[in-house]
């Protein structure tokens, strides 16, 4: 049995400045997994490294035991929302349709059934009435949902999401977490970069704490405690006193 995502000895550097060092990690299948760490910890970098978007300084990443190149149809991706210019001449449905491009391959155009599938995905995120809305006229939370729908349209086994909860209101956050739970029930593996320590125990089955290196990984109940958070966040954790009572203490 291969893990959905297994990372061995992974190191990544930008212009010789190391950002991730010697990460070893096996993601458990069919779980909702939080990737947690302070700003600049290398969370986005880790996701991009898994997706083969960055050259690796060392190590390897396997998706169900094979390189990403052979398995990319199994992986869906939700980038950070700010990574694109939303003033692009296109509408929501069209963006979701991009999720189908990978299956189509070069030159082939999306067909009616792709369109239907994309519309269903928009429906799942509660955005069907915005299908033809120009994307710059969507609120931040709605744009985030469009990105989520686009990943759903990839119809993948593993989902990698970079901060899907940033800048969304409470209602949208609830809606998104419900969709993620549905994915989990379909035995899919979902890795989510997450910032809000207060909701970690509520949302995630297991977590991966990183700050340049792996600090800890495992089931949330076992791993999410003060020692590890102290190590991950350093002195900065004291800024969040209200979280300390949320944390399982040993």
């Amino acid at each position: 049995m291969f893990a959905p995502v297994s990372i061995r000895n992974l190191s990544v550097a930008y212009h010789r400045k190391p950002v991730l060092r010697d990460i070893d990690y096996d993601a458990p299948e069919g779980e909702l997994i939080g990737i947690i760490g302070p700003n600049g910890a290398g969370k986005s970098t880790l996701i991009k490294a898994i997706l083969g978007l960055l050259p690796l300084a060392s190590g390897e990443v396997k998706i169900y035991g094979k390189p990403y190149k052979e398995q990319r149809h199994l992986v869906g991706y939700v980038p950070q929302r700010e990574s694109v210019d939303w003033d692009f001449p296109t509408h929501a449905l069209d963006v979701v349709l991009m999720g189908r491009y990978g299956k189509l391959g070069w030159f082939r155009r999306p067909k009616a059934e792709d369109r239907e599938f994309a519309l269903e995905c928009l429906q799942k995120v509660g955005m069907e009435s915005f299908a033809k809305r120009q994307i710059s006229q969507l609120s931040g939370g709605q744009q985030q949902r469009v990105f989520l729908a686009r990943a759903l349209a990839q119809d993948a086994q593993i989902y990698l999401m970079d901060e899907p909860f940033v800048g969304v209101d409470a209602a949208t956050e609830k809606a998104i977490i419900q969709i993620l739970n549905e994915l989990k029930q379909q035995k899919k593996t979902v890795l989510v970069v997450h910032h809000d320590l207060q909701t970690v125990t509520e949302y995630f089955d297991s977590i991966l704490l990183i700050n340049m290196c792996k600090i800890a990984a495992g089931p949330t109940r076992e791993v999410f405690h003060a020692d590890h958070l102290q190590k991950t966040y350093g002195g900065r954790l004291t800024v969040l006193p209200e979280t300390s009572n949320m944390i399982v203490t040993r």
Binding site: L53, A171, T172
Partner: protein, 426 residues
């Protein structure tokens, strides 16, 4: 028009068409300057082609231009990938280095034996009148190829422009596509050199695209509009220059494109400046109207009266008599003049409108205050806005209004059944 003018006309139209199409993608990738760089990078290629072969053959010149153009775009790629220099700096760098080199070579040539007559300078500013049938034929082949490729690769180019790293994660080689696209741009530039010249070519790539962006929110439509505008500028420029006032075609084409851009910027629906202005004024008017209704209602509610004096009202709220008379015209309020004062009251329809406006506003206030608690009531994450408050949220919001004692209480006509019972029995 003589036969040659016809060839020029077709040539410039084809140029406008293909630069319009490719320009859209360059524009959306914020690479407007790329065309400029490629055009300038072409100059040393032309000079070198002449120095090596010693022939005045347009075709050879253009091969040279293509080679240094591609070299320039590769340099930009390398610089941005392997150094910390950002793309804009790299563009500036390559532009000046290559163009400088080109000028040095050009001076060298002009000081040598077969000097000025080499006709190299026509590539500096363009000289479309010198185009002949064979020029246009290969322009047509290249333009046709470019259009076909943009059509086939439309979805991939869209990915490249909108979200390249996502495209990469889907398995499309974005680096390869980027190089291919650069090659396309080089080809357009090379086609255009003979018409518009090194200096103006960049304008032909960006201007139609920028103008087309004003008219549409759909990439495919934008590409069409840009292509048509590009072709039209080509035709208009050539046509005007054929009147024989000794005006050269290239600059006229660019001027025609610029005119279309200015017109688009002014009058396009949605994005155009005029329609933005109109919309801004309309929202302001609506906002002012709503604020006035709200103020009058709130005042009456507080004082438990059915009429309010303008002077009293103005002590508490900013009230404009202009908006009041507008409300009166709409039949929402009536105004009675006293000796020094004006008394304002709602008409029956006015009461209904005021009650609804105030109710919606206050429900929205409640939603904003308690969004976090109420979120679970919206499992599908419906959108809450002034125009749509989800039906099943209304009872919760009403409870909250009663808690905060801000439910609208004052309505002599009791028009709103939904609220009536709750107002009587909190």
């Amino acid at each position: 028009m003589d036969a040659n003018t016809w060839w020029v006309l077709i040539g410039t139209a084809l140029l406008g068409l293909s630069s319009g199409v490719l320009g859209c993608f360059a524009f959306l990738r914020k690479q407007g300057l790329m065309g400029d760089v490629l055009a300038h990078a072409a100059l040393p290629g032309i000079c070198l082609a002449f120095m090596i072969t010693g022939a005045k053959n347009s075709f050879l010149f253009l091969i040279g231009a293509a080679i240094t153009g591609i070299l320039g775009s590769l340099c930009i790629n390398w610089i941005t990938r392997y150094s910390r220099i950002k793309e804009d700096t790299a563009l500036g760098l390559i532009l000046s280095v290559f163009f400088g080199l080109g000028i040095v070579l050009l001076t060298q040539i002009q000081h040598s034996n077969n000097g000025n007559q080499s006709g190299l300078d026509k590539f500096l500013f363009g000289q479309s009148a010198s185009m002949v049938a064979s020029d246009v034929q290969w322009m047509a082949i290249m333009a046709g190829l470019l259009l076909l490729m943009s059509f086939l690769l439309f979805k991939e180019l869209k990915l490249l422009c909108f979200d390249a790293s996502y495209g990469q994660s889907l398995g499309f080689s974005m680096r390869g596509l980027n190089l291919l696209f650069m090659t396309f741009l080089v080809i357009v530039v090379v086609i255009g050199l003979q018409v518009a010249g090194v200096v103006l070519m960049a304008a032909l790539i960006v201007t139609p695209a920028a103008a087309a962006r004003y008219w549409t929110e759909q990439l495919s439509t934008m590409v069409w509009i840009s292509a048509v505008m590009g072709a039209c500028s080509g035709v208009i420029g050539t046509w005007i220059s054929s009147f024989g006032y000794n005006l050269s075609t290239g600059p006229l084409i660019v001027l025609a494109a610029t005119m279309m851009f200015i017109i688009s910027m002014m009058v396009a629906p949605q994005r155009g400046l005029l329609s933005r202005l109109v919309r801004l004024m309309k929202t302001r008017r609506e906002l002012a109207r709503e604020q006035h209704i709200n103020s009058i209602y709130t005042y009456m509610e507080k004082e438990q009266v059915l009429k309010v004096s303008l002077l009293d009202l103005q002590t508490q709220y900013p009230i404009s008599t202009h908006v009041l008379s507008q409300l009166k015209e709409e039949g929402l309020i009536h105004m009675e003049e006293d000796h020094q004062d004006i008394w304002i009251g709602f008409t029956e329809t006015g009461w209904k409108a005021a009650y609804d406006t105030v109710l919606t506003n206050r429900m929205l206030e409640m939603w904003l205050m308690h969004e976090a608690d109420l979120a679970s009531k919206l499992p599908n994450g419906e959108i809450v806005s002034k125009d749509s408050i989800p039906e099943h949220l209304v009872p919760e919001l009403q409870k909250l209004m009663i808690q905060h004692q801000c439910e609208p209480k004052w309505n002599p006509y009791d028009s709103n059944q939904r609220m009536k019972e709750r107002v009587v029995s909190p």
